[in-house]
Structures are given as C-alpha cells and as structure tokens.
Amino acid sequence: MNIFFLIIGMGMCALVLLCLYRVTFGPNVLNRAAGLSAVGTKTLIILLLMGVIYDRVEMFVDISMVYALLNFLGTLVLAKYIKQSGEVEC
C-alpha cells in the first residue's frame, strides 16, 4: 500500500513542477499568484501523503493545517498588494 501512496506523491511532485512553470513564465502577475496558490495546495497533499507513508498521520495533519492557513493568508495578502499597487486592472 505504501508503494501506491509513494507513486501518488511522485505524481504530485511532477504536477508541482508544472505549476512552477506557470509561476516562472506566467504572462502577468495574476497567473503567478494563482500558480503559487496551487503549488501550496499540492505541497499540503504531499505532506499528508508523507504522513501516511511514515505512519504518523496525526502529526502531519497538524502541520498541514497550519500550511493551509498560511497559504490562504499569503494569497490574500498578495492579492491585496496587487490591487493597491495598481499595476494590473482587476
């Protein structure tokens, strides 16, 4: 069963690379913000999969909840900054 979760985790890592492409070469800053948010969500899933593989889910659930909270907050602050700086119409 661990092999199954390991393969899912490796697939998630490949998807993180795809999102990282959008963050690096995104045409404007809104695409980059959305890509960063997607990378954060995928990192959260990878953390939970690591918890399942190492057989300590109850520990990794705590960490991933904090990660989800800070990811949401970071995206919100970034959106606020982009709106107030006035570089992009939104």
């Binding site: 520990m59 705590d62 960490i63 909270l69 907050l73």
Partner: protein, 151 residues
C-alpha cells in the same frame, strides 16, 4: 495603509475563519509538548488571525482592538511570565527553569509540576511572539502614513 475590503466574500470568510484560527492556535500552544508546535508557533498563528482581520476589515478597526501600546505591554508581559517562572524556580531552591521545584507551590507531584511549568512558559512565549508579530505587521502596513509628509 490597508483600507477595509469591499469584497463580501473576503469579509465573510475572515469573520467565519478567525474563531477557528484562534482555537487552533490555543490547541498548538496547549499541546506543544506532545505534538509539533509550542509557544512560538502558536503565537505566530494567533498573529495570523490579526493579519487576516487587518486585511479584510481595515487596519483602523484592528488598532482599536489591539493598539501598538497594548501590543508593547503584552510582549513585555510575555517575557515577564517566562523570566518570572524561571526566577520562581530559582527562589524555591532549584536551577533556573527547574520546574520540579514548583511542586511545593502548586501542591502537586513534581512530574505534574513540570508539565504545568512548561505550559506556563509556553503561554508566556506565545503572548510575546503574538504581540511582537502584530507590532511588526502593523508597522509595515502603516509605513506610508508615517512618511506621508516626505513624499
């Protein structure tokens, strides 16, 4: 200067989310010696709830709840709790932060006194970290209003 957000989604989400964030931060502080977390991490999560309120409801409303002066007093209070528990152990005949000596004061067994002492120290750390993080964030957010005359 961070103004109040006009978006009803952001405001409602922040209002619904903040109580859960605070309860989770208290869980991280209280459960720090069994699971990942502790005083510093709990304090940062508590400060995150203030940041969320500041960017959704405007900085002015948050300053009414937690002004810079209150934050300074709270940070000093946190350091005082930490150092006070350490010095109390020193006065009761142990080493600095030797919580086992608190058992005479709390009239419990030494093992339980150690657990309670660590909890008290972590509450102090959480208070100090929360207040200092809020101070840093408020200072960054209100940067342009202080230097408004120069520009």
């Amino acid at each position: 200067m961070i103004r109040e957000s006009q978006d009803v989604i952001v405001k409602t989400l922040a209002r619904l989310l903040v109580p859960f964030i605070v309860i989770y931060a208290l869980y991280v502080v209280m459960h720090g010696h069994h699971s990942p977390g502790g005083g510093f991490q709990g304090g940062v999560i508590l400060a995150a709830s203030f940041v969320l309120l500041a960017i959704s409801h405007g900085l002015d409303k948050i300053r009414q709840r937690l002004s810079e002066k209150t934050a300074g007093i709270l940070s000093s209070l946190g350091v005082f709790i930490y150092a006070g528990i350490g010095l109390l152990c020193l006065l009761l005949g142990g080493k600095y932060l030797d919580y086992g000596k608190l058992s005479k004061l709390l009239s419990v067994e030494p093992a339980q006194a150690r657990s309670l002492g660590i909890l008290g120290v972590e509450i102090g750390v959480a208070l100090a970290v929360m207040a200092v993080m809020c101070l840093i964030v408020f200072t960054i957010f209100s940067f342009d209003e202080d230097s408004g005359g120069d520009e």
